[in-house]
Structure formats: structure tokens, C-alpha cells
Assembly symmetry: C2
Homo-oligomer: 224 residues x 2
């Protein structure tokens, strides 16, 4: 019922619309939604509506909901790959410098830990494997080697396990951003760029020298 003579003003191809922009809008809307809620919990219509288009556009441009999701994942990883490369390709590479830059990078892209953890821990398998592979080849080998080298050179403690050390380093850097909603509640602390700066310095200092007051007691037992 209805319609007939009433020319629905919004039917048919709109005039002067940039279809590439529609594509980008959909990707952006998808990122906004999928980063906050689960794949199943987000509906096609919701995403499309936020992008200002009909839900059928998702099928038109991306072949379906899953297609849009994978396109979004690809996009995120590309921007991430690029930034990580520029970070680890600096001429003079040191763990401390890397750790510091890494913290700032996370502050600029707070969606990243969230995204990685969600993909790897909670995704339904399909995308998981690919994501895991891309991530595992990114930086871990380089950092492991760098830590091993420091131990060999005698700069780091003898017997220090590179794998465990890298895990600690990653945990210290990533966890605050990952658990931001909890941190903000429990500590009453906003996770912004100024905080990231403090965190970066704190982390490097803790990583290098620990919490113990060295002026008071130098070289405690260390014999494990």
C-alpha cells in the first residue's frame, strides 16, 4: 500500500554522490562499531545507517557483512603494518627507544590492542589464523634478537630469558591501553597522550632498573 504517484524522493541513484566516499564511510562506520561490539552484536543496518546509506549497500560494495568486516580488518592491518615498520626500521635500534615509541604509538591508536586481542582471542577462527600469522612476523623476531644481543654483550643480566623478557615488555606497554576502561575506573586516570608519555618513561625506567632503590642497596642476591 502507498507509493503510487508519490515519487519517493530517495529512490534510485542519487545525483552527484561520490561512490568511493560511500565505500569509505561504510568502512569507517564498520570500524567504529566492530571495535566496540562483537561481530554478531552489530547489525548490518546499524552500520549502514550510521554511514547514511541503506543496508543493501554493504552487500553491493562488500558482498555481505563478513566481506565488510574482512575489508575493515585489512585496512586496520595495513595502517598498523606501516607504522610498525617505520618504528623498527630506525637506523639506531634500541629496546628502550622502541619501548618508548611503542607506547606513544599505542596512545595514538588506542584501538589497536583492543583489536588484536579481540581478533586473536575471541574471533571465530576464520580470520584468526591470518591475523595471527601477520602479527607473528611483524616485530617479535627482531625484538627477540635485539634482547638476546644485549645479553650477549653483557648489557643485560646474564641468564635473562629473551622470550619472557619480551613478554614482560609487551605486557607493560599494552596492558594499560587494553584495560583502559578498567584503569580509568579503578585508578581515576585518563588514558591519553600525556599519560602515555609518563607511562613510556616509567616503563623504560622500570624495565631497565626495576623498582628497588639502588642508592640504598646495590646488587642484591640476584642468585635465583
Amino acid at each position: 500500500m502507498k507509493q503510487s504517484t508519490t515519487k519517493s524522493a530517495s529512490l534510485g541513484r542519487p545525483s552527484g554522490r561520490d561512490s568511493e566516499k560511500v565505500r569509505r564511510d561504510l568502512l569507517e562506520s564498520a570500524r567504529d562499531h566492530f571495535l566496540k561490539r562483537d561481530f554478531k552484536a552489530v547489525s548490518l543496518r546499524e552500520i549502514a545507517s550510521s554511514a547514511g546509506v541503506n543496508g543493501a549497500m554493504v552487500n553491493y560494495y562488500f558482498g555481505g557483512k563478513k566481506g565488510l568486516y574482512l575489508a575493515m580488518v585489512d585496512e586496520l592491518f595495513e595502517s598498523l603494518d606501516e607504522k610498525m615498520r617505520s618504528l623498527s626500521d630506525s637506523s639506531e635500534f634500541s629496546i628502550a627507544d622502541f619501548s618508548h615509541s611503542y607506547c606513544l604509538l599505542l596512545a595514538e591508536n588506542p584501538w589497536w590492542p583492543n583489536f588484536i586481542v579481540r581478533e586473536i582471542l575471541f574471533s571465530e577462527g576464520e580470520t584468526k589464523e591470518e591475523v595471527l600469522q601477520r602479527f607473528s612476523k611483524m616485530i617479535a623476531p627482531k625484538l627477540l634478537h635485539a634482547i638476546g644481543q644485549e645479553v650477549e654483550d653483557g648489557n643485560y643480566r646474564e641468564g635473562l630469558n629473551p622470550e619472557l623478557t619480551l613478554m614482560s615488555l609487551m605486557g607493560m606497554a599494552i596492558f594499560p591501553f587494553l584495560a583502559a576502561p578498567m584503569i580509568e575506573r579503578v585508578f581515576g586516570m585518563k588514558i591519553d597522550e600525556s599519560m602515555a608519555n609518563k607511562l613510556a618513561e616509567h616503563n623504560v625506567a622500570l624495565f631497565m632498573n626495576g623498582v628497588v632503590n639502588q642508592k640504598q642497596q646495590v646488587t642484591e642476591g640476584t642468585g635465583s
Copy 2:
């Protein structure tokens, strides 16, 4: 475990069935499913079928899907609360001891970080707030105070920020378990109890004294 359709003979109240067991089976099945996949991604029928009963039983015993989920959350938190209390109520409380026990506790309950992060980061708000409140009152205040005390006593470096320090400590301890699937892939390292023991020792040593070889160089500049 799959009873499936036992044909028409299975109508009406079954003989000699323990209704309390059905309740427990449903809770267990719910935990198995909800810990692996999202709330929305798990269907009532799936849970019930795994427990060997009809989907309507979820409504009968728990008032609905959400009721079952909350009952499961309650159960998990109860077991967790109990264990955490016994950890922080030891007569002589030290950060190092706590950190060590905490690691071992995580190794025994690997679902925990997964669950917490999922609840806080990805849940749809309703349960989130309650979970956040319970968690925020658990141990954070006690640990913050303990760290502050160590600084005051001159055991920890002057100017050490207790909040940042606690974040680092939590990150070092939790991250390996949270990212276990990634760790196992990237480092070829199984996250089991033996590894948790090494990790615990490693973390305490790193937390206390850092990575720098103290025998060679004491207190480097670190001026950024």
C-alpha cells in the same frame, strides 16, 4: 555427551532425574560456551543441547538467557573472590610474594584474564558495570597502598608512581596468559604451570631490579 533426540518417549517429566544436576549442567555448559564466544554469538539451544536438555529449561531454571549468564558470572566471581582473598590475606604481605602467587593462580585459572577482559572491554554494558565494580574493589586498593608504603620506606625508588607501577606489574603478570594463543604461536612456548613458575620468578626479578646488568653499570642516566 550428546543425547540428541531420544524420540517421543522423552516427553514429560523424566523419572529419577536430579533437577539440581540439570541446573549445574546448564551452568557448566554456559561457562564452556560463553568463555569461548560472545554472549550474542552463543544460542540458548546450543547451551541447552550441550547440557542434554531442551532450551526451555534455561527459562525454567534461570528465567532466560541473561539470567543464566549472570548466574554463571556470579559463580565465576565467587570462586575468584575466594582465591584472591586467601592470597592477599596472608599475614606477611609483600608485593613480590603476591606477584609470584598471582602468576601461579593465573596458571591454574587461565580462563580468568580472558573472562575479565571480555567482560570489561566487550560486554554490552549491562553486566559490565557490575563486573567492573566488583573487580575494582578486589585488590587494587591494597596493592596501591603497599607500593606507596615501600616508596615511603625508601625501599622503592623515590618518585615512583604507584598507579603506573601497579599497571606494569599487572601487565607483566596478566598479558602472557591473556595472549596465550599468540604467545604459543610466536614463541613456540606452552603456557602451562611450569612456564608460569619461570614467569613468576622472571617477573619478580625484573620488577625489582630490571634487566640491566648491575655488576657492570649502576644507575645509568636515563635522562630523556
